[in-house]
Symmetry: C7
Subunit: 94 residues, 7 copies
């Protein structure tokens, strides 16, 4: 069973807090818009979305910072995922 | 009697919670925007919607995750359906 | 006396609840956005509406599901009608 | 003294309730968006409005249904008028 | 000292209530959006405003009805003026 | 040290109240949207802003009326400035 | 570890208050939209964003004034950064 996102949507797997801390990224709890570190699991095909051509810039395996509140949480086979639009991804962590 | 959606609308049949659990998907009850698993029943023709060309990406029989609050519930011959815009479908489950 | 809608507007006659029940459609009373079954009475000419070319997809006599709250109720010669934009019609019932 | 509307605006004269009743149209008082019957007095030239070409579809003398709350009431030489955008006119009564 | 409006802005001088009454126009005090009678003092050059070509349709000396709440009041050399966008002018009074 | 505005932004220096009064302009304190008199200090390059070509119409040294609440106040080397978008400038004072 | 912004996003490092004061810029604490002085750390590639071609106008090392509330704060390896869209940068300080 696999989530195949439509259009410019991206399936993310949130990196757990412990791992996050180890990698040196701490997300400030008091921020109004909570940024989140996650791994890209699946990427939609892009194409014309809402009348605009969108090219996908991220790929599975990328680690990214995204805006939590724009995403939708789903649980598939005991795993939690977040589905966001690519535009809700702020930066790739290299 | 049959629902024929206009434009980019899609008729969905929500998969019952029991089946959902068996398939391994659990929808978190506390999420603000509740995602939903459903089967595609009928798909509008797409075309120019609000001045933008829209191609339909889903087909009857697809299982999908959608954003519940954007849809409209109807009951036809004792069956409940949800009519959403295709853009409210987040991902196909394969 | 006749209502001739402008642009992409459509004049609907709501099907009475009794007829609705007989035809097997029951509209859930608790839904936030109440869907409605109605018959199309008159259809505007379409054309360029708000800068966008709109083709009319429904015709008088069609039975449709529409979103109630987007329409405007009028009473002409003791008959109640609802005037909606075509985009507020979700599906045709065949 | 004469009101010459700009762009896509239309000057309307509301038909009095008595005449309205005689003509068989009763406007429901409980409707959230009160529709109104009126006669077209003057019509703007149309043309490019907000970047979009608008053709005027109504002419002086037409009886129309319009959405009251979008208009602006003015009184000229003891007569009340309403100035609306053409798009606030829902239908012509023939 | 002179106010030269930019883009599609128009400088208006509100006609005093006494003159207004004499000319037969009474503005209803209870209207939610208070219309106002004024004389055009200066007119911006128009041109491309927010990506759209705008032609100015009014000229200094025109008497107009405008929507009060869209304008900005300024006082220059003991005179009060209102600066509105041309689109806030509803009609010219001839 | 110098502020170089980006895009269609303009750096303004508010004219002090005393000078304002001398020049004959009094800003009404009770106005909901407080207009302000200021001198243009620096002007962005214009160009394509948010997909629209914008030409700068003001230049350093111009005295202008602007809408206060759209700007951002900054203090550089003990001097207060306001950075606004050109579209928040209502008129030039000549 | 490095933050690589997507599209028109820019990674900023806020200049500390002490340094800010030394450089002569004081940010008024009572301003509703708090401007902020920061250094540009990384700049997205620009390109077509939301259907519009965007060219990046800032480069790493630039000192800029930005609107704080549009950004998202992240902490990477004990350093705090802010990710903003380029359009939230008001001016470059030279």
């Amino acid at each position: 069973m696999k989530l195949v996102p439509l259009f410019d949507r991206v399936v993310l797997k949130q990196l757990v807090a412990e791992e996050t801390t180890k990698s040196g990224i701490v997300l400030p709890g008091q921020a109004k818009e909570k940024p989140q570190q996650a791994e890209v699991i699946a990427v939609g095909p892009g194409g014309v979305v809402d009348g605009k051509e969108i090219k996908m810039q991220v790929k599975p395996g990328d680690k990214v910072i995204y805006s939590k509140y724009s995403g939708t949480e789903v649980k598939v086979e005991e795993e939690d995922y977040i589905i966001v639009k690519q535009n809700d991804i702020l930066a790739v962590i290299e």
